[in-house]
């Protein structure tokens, strides 16, 4: 999930697209969604509290986004990126306390389960698209993931 302050976002978008005429769109665009978003997440939480809350309904900044780790430079553009095919919650192990399906350095076979994504109470195994070696695990256990989000990298 991306989580961004408002006008900053527009500025960034405008800048980004402005720059695109100078040929950097694709990379800039992809990188921004993941990186820039999380970088400014803490700022968001602050600005969201600018108005005191006399009304009964209080805004609840989602803690998970702010807590999410800052992703590496641009995993989405990595050819070995395994992306989430759905919205849900990622589990790195088959059950709580069990050993993770894979870890960094694991050699995996095509079709081997890498992790599980739970969506609407259903466990969906995410399998390796080909043989390779896990070089990076981007998501953490129980992390909410959105469609197209990079889960891990196999090289």
């Amino acid at each position: 999930m991306t989580k961004l302050p408002d006008s900053k976002r527009i500025k960034e978008l405008a800048d980004l697209l402005d720059k695109s005429s100078l040929t950097e769109i694709e990379v800039e665009a992809e990188g921004m969604r993941i990186r820039v978003a999380r970088q400014v997440a803490s700022q968001m939480v602050t600005s969201q509290q600018t108005i005191a809350q006399p009304a009964p309904i209080t805004p609840t900044p989602a803690p998970e986004a702010a807590a999410a780790p800052v992703a590496a430079a641009n995993p989405a553009s990595n050819a070995g990126a395994v992306k989430s095919p759905m919205v849900g919650t990622a589990y790195l192990a088959p059950e709580p306390g069990a050993k993770d399906f894979v870890s960094i350095g694991s050699t995996v076979k095509q079709g081997q389960t890498l992790l599980i994504i739970e969506a609407m109470k259903t466990m969906n195994p995410i399998t390796a698209p080909r043989d390779g070696k896990v070089t990076e695990i981007i998501v953490t256990n129980e992390q909410p993931v959105e469609f197209d989000e990079v889960l891990l990298i196999i090289e």
Binding site: M1, R9, S20, I57, P59, A62, V87, T89, P144, E146
Partner: protein
Amino acid sequence: MISKILIANRGEIALRVIRACREMGIASVAVHSTADNHAMHVGLADESVCLGPAPAANSYLNIPAIIAACEITGADAVHPGYGFLSENAKFADILEAHGITFIGPTADHIRLMGDKIAAKAKAIELGIPVVPGSDGEVKDVADALKVGREMGFPVLVKAASGGGGRGMKIAKTEDDLAEAFTTARSEAKAAFGDDAVYIEKYLEKPRHIEIQVACDTHGNAVHLGERDCSLQRRHQKVLEEAPSTVLDDAARAKIGKIVTNAMEGMSYRGVGTIEFLYEKGEFYFIEMNTRLQVEHPVTEAITGIDLVREQIRVANGEVLSFTQDDIVLSGHAMECRINAEHPETFVPSPGKIQTYHAPGGLGVRIDSAAFAGCAIPPYYDSLIGKLIVHAADRETCMRRLDRALREFAIDGVETTLPLFHRLLANEDFQKADYDIHWLEGFLQSEAEKKTVD
């Protein structure tokens, strides 16, 4: 109490709901397809979730993904906007099953009003006027005459098995009826092998007038006056205004009372719109939209009421913040739907907006998720913004609209902005002398003029 709303929509309406959430201190979750990764609603919501790839079926219409998005963000309510899943009863059911509040009416009411035949039957039951028709087949000319006299001429004789305009004859007066009846019958026989015909009132130059209602779960139903949406192209509204020039206070109060009685009668919840054809002082029910409409800001302008806020309040179980007596219509409002389309051919024009500068000043409201540098993807509808103008009277409203249109600068995609300049220059429009067919005729005559030149 609702504390976090997921908006199952995109574009200006997603932004509209996000704004209401912020103003009520409710957290907002935007959902989006990969085509909308950099869309404004994604940037302005407190959180966002990418649902799936560009095609709506895989993203904005992807119910499991939306439910999963609610689960991972902890959203306790969903606002469907308009279009997409806003009138999908199954979606409302599934949300309820998951304990998530659907900001809209009950699934049963969505289902009922989504079925045209059931909706018409319900309207009759609730005392809402519908297009009069014979009770089933009309057997002979004498019978036809009796029916025709009851409902008033002109009437339409239609093949019971017909469709697509065949086996359909207009009788303008009593004198035409015998011939129309016989011809329709024989055409019906020839075309469909069935000579059964029925009779319906024929509307020649109707207006499209719709009544906005807002209802809570405490038995309160309030109408917020009408919108005149007669200016349509291929059944798509182009410019809406309120109040309609053809209704006076008495007529408004009368239809308003009928409609609010009906809403109370069915225990409707939330906002809704009852659409009518209107001709010679009479209203004829077309359908009811069980959701927020694109043109709701027109009503907000003349009533000063925030309809999205009321939707959320009602979904929260609160009482409407106004009663019928509080509703005072003030001035005149118009809304232009600005589409990324060629202003004459209406061919969609997706692409990247290079320049975007919206008009400002007194009485001007812009609802748009467009900005300089934004993408207009080809996958969704072409509405890129709404320009709503409010003024003391219709004349001033037109002039204000004219000046606001001149200030509006969008470059990079074609837009329908020039169409509104042409409309404002037209005398029929200036006099509000139009019906639901008028705009098509206007566009055709303009196209012909262009060809001659």
